[in-house]
Amino acid sequence: MEKIVVSIQDASVRYNLATQKRHGLKDYLQALKRRELLFQEFIALKDISLTVRQGESWGIVGKNGSGKSTLLKLITGILRPYKGTVSVNGTVAPLLELGAGFDGDLTGRENIMMNGLILGMTEKDIRARFDEIVDFAEIETFLDVPLKNYSSGMKSRLGFSIATCARADILIADEVLATGDKAFQLKCEERMQELLAGGTTLLFVSHSSAAVKRMCQKALWLDAGEMRMTGDVGEVVQAYEGSGQSGK
């Protein structure tokens, strides 16, 4: 058996809704009294348990708002469990949003450095893989252009390119294929397959059941913050689609 890289036990995550709707002064004062003025609890994930081994690829499916991104944030370490435990063995490259941390005023070149550092790469790594990053993103001629003048496709390609060149042990991809054209989607899938073949662990969120089936061996179905089913990708996706939740 391969070693365990992600181990989640009975983890719950809570969020702050920060509701802004207040009906007048009375409501405001009542919220203040209940200590809910700045914090209204919302349990985004309930009693999740998951064990991921090295080299596995997991698809996470579920409706919008079912807690998929929250689960990825939990594994990345951005959110902490409010109950239960999470332990992660290895480096994580989170792609929770293509180009998270990009700065429109900086050039492509500067953003590559900045984003690589944010992902935990060293300056040396980034320089060594600079050409590889640029090649994949196909932005050679725009390297010294501020990022705000890039097309959204270029930004997506660059974000994906940096994250996959970070060579982290665990790649976390949230809806990365949703933007971009067919050619880009194919290219991304190919890249992820290469990484998987090299022993990277993949956690993959997508609304495309077909993509999940192509990319992943295993799947987890989340529904309103709770686990409905885990197991072989075929069975889980079939059950999910059968439930009518996938909209098919």
Binding site: Y15, F39, G77, I78, P94, D103, E110, L117
Partner: protein, 266 residues
């Protein structure tokens, strides 16, 4: 004790690991401020210089004042006030301002206030060039006492970081802080003897300001060095360091208490 030691060691290794990112964040702030301008980084020096010229013109002609070497007198005050209040304002915004990054990536939050503090210090060193020019034009003689200048800067730097960090943590939970701070700095400006001598105020007011306004401690030391050619007053220096260190300690305690829940509020 052991736990504290481990956490200190962890923080230090983390700091070293994130040093290149810190460097890039500082460079980013500077680049964004000046890159798209025609004069570029010259603005770092020109900006404080022009503000100074205007204030000198206003206060030495409109209000006939009797302060000798008014440009240097004013600059000493203005420099310290800008570093402390401007620097703290930048740090105040740094946590909330980088919320989107904090929600999408995993970097220690303290890197943002630290980067903001460092870029304020870089701006301050550009201001020093303007100050040097003013000293040159006014033919202000310098003495050995200038050697104590870095110690004064150190006091202000500690104070600025402590104040900014404390405000930044509070501002995550209560956003009104940033508005209150803006109002506060206006009052602070008039309560700091920047363009008037302390002696022009009433006795009780003089006492209040020289006791409770930390900026006075720093500005008085500065003027002693550059205008009166004396070493900084020991008591002022002690007060200056104590206030700053106390603020840093309180702010770090607040940060360490808040860091686990911070993400739910930004």
């Amino acid at each position: 004790m052991n736990r504290i030691w481990t956490s200190v060691r962890l923080t230090v290794t983390n700091c070293i690991r994130y040093l290149p990112l810190l460097k890039n964040l500082i460079a980013r702030e500077l680049k964004k401020k000046y890159r798209s301008t025609m004069l570029g980084y010259a603005w770092c020096v020109l900006n404080p210089l022009f503000v100074m010229l205007i204030m000198t013109a206003v206060f030495s002609n409109m209000f006939r004042n009797s302060i000798a070497n008014f440009p240097v007198y004013l600059f000493c005050g203005r420099m310290i006030y800008s570093l402390a209040t401007g620097g703290a304002a930048g740090i105040l915004r740094s946590l909330r301002g980088n919320g989107s990054l904090m929600r999408k990536t995993r970097i220690p939050y303290y890197i943002f206030p630290v980067a903001s503090f460092c870029s304020a210090m870089v701006d301050f060193f550009f201001t020093l060039i303007a100050f040097a020019l003013v000293l040159l034009f006014t033919r202000t003689p310098l003495s050995i006492h200038v050697a104590a200048f870095p110690l004064v800067v150190l006091q202000v730097a500690i104070f600025t970081f402590g104040l900014g960090m404390l405000l930044a943590v509070c501002n995550v939970f209560i956003q009104d802080i940033s508005y209150l701070y803006n109002i506060f700095t206006v009052a602070w400006m008039y309560l700091t003897p920047m363009f008037y001598p302390l002696s022009s105020l009433s006795e009780p007011m003089q006492h209040l300001i020289s006791t409770f306004n930390p900026l006075y401690y720093y500005i008085a030391q500065m003027r002693g060095i550059f205008l009166d050619h004396v070493w900084p007053d020991r008591q002022l220096m002690l007060l200056g360091f104590s206030v700053g260190i106390a603020l840093v300690v309180v702010s770090l305690l607040a940060y360490s208490k808040a860091k686990n829940t911070l993400i739910l509020y930004v």
